[in-house]
Symmetry: C2
Subunit: 220 residues, 2 copies
Amino acid sequence: MRIENRDFNDAENFFSGNRQVLWNEISGVIADMPLHLKASDQSGKQGSLIFDPVGTNETIKTSLIGMGWSSGVPMPPAYKFLGSDVDFVKNDILVEVQFSNYPFLVNNIVRSELLYRDQTIMGRQSIKGVVIIAKARMFPASNSTLYYEQAVTQTRALARKQMFDVPVRVVGMFENYGVVPAVFTEYPARYSRTPANRANIRVNIQQAARNGARALIERA
Amino acid sequence: MRIENRDFNDAENFFSGNRQVLWNEISGVIADMPLHLKASDQSGKQGSLIFDPVGTNETIKTSLIGMGWSSGVPMPPAYKFLGSDVDFVKNDILVEVQFSNYPFLVNNIVRSELLYRDQTIMGRQSIKGVVIIAKARMFPASNSTLYYEQAVTQTRALARKQMFDVPVRVVGMFENYGVVPAVFTEYPARYSRTPANRANIRVNIQQAARNGARALIERA
């Protein structure tokens, strides 16, 4: 897939030098993975191809773990009220993959900031920088789920008011228009995380006529 | 009902003097209202009496509007991503009634803080202090809904790290143990906000044997 990103609190500087290697691991995982799709079960859109958060999460997880990232690192007990664990940690970098409803972005930033201010050890080191990964708006997706452009707007609003000091890089997952490879997964039931069937397909991604609308994705 | 409250960022001082009158309006509404209950539709608990957020919200809303509070004041467009409106505003005080899932507390505090830092006019004045109302843990309630003791713990954790400067008073709605009057509302369907039937009843509230567990509430 294709990446765009926006930096807050001097994240550009933070992710340079020694940490460039870790950023290259994260961006490499996204660059190397295909778009994951599933069939919508929403009324009126049944069967149409939409972004698959479960398949995407799985692929990111498998790849990052293979590079020595820790997954599901527990939050300290005092902050369990902001969620039980964080997605990925390596050295002093925390990664959150956020395909849920849009209010979770504020939750992710607030809890990252608390860990940062506390110099909480997550894994072996204290957290000094954060990466938040979201899908781009271009993909048809479940209602009210966070998209990259929205994540940037929200993070910018919080940053302008100095609500957080931790360096944050917001990352968007995009795909080129035209015919591209994709992974199509069938799930036996809504909310199921266990795929019934998974296949490599090719899809044609057409840009929406209206600015800001989702792309049309069809089997090629 | 009975009130407890905890103050953050010198809210005690903020709600004294001229603002004491406004605090008296809020606390008076809660003190004067009966406990609102409904029948649980959760499997295993069907028919048991639990806290009714819809009836409670309605009563608070009717009473505060009668005292000149504005309800559903729109968020400025830049902050719509944190919700479309706030619950109640009068002069420079914002009130949020929060019976939803526990992550909404952080959202409420963050958006109040943004309004405060921006000196945003909500209604006629800019917001200088916040009241967040929650039910006490003692009441059986829908799963994962915020309760007062949890709200205090969360707000304290954020306050300790200086995540917000706005004065916040967290208010808990309690009830005495023993036989008390209550309002029982039947709703035609889950998530419905239109009551099918409403009746004044008397209930016996028994303290749970185990510390931290919910009370047992039965018709008296």
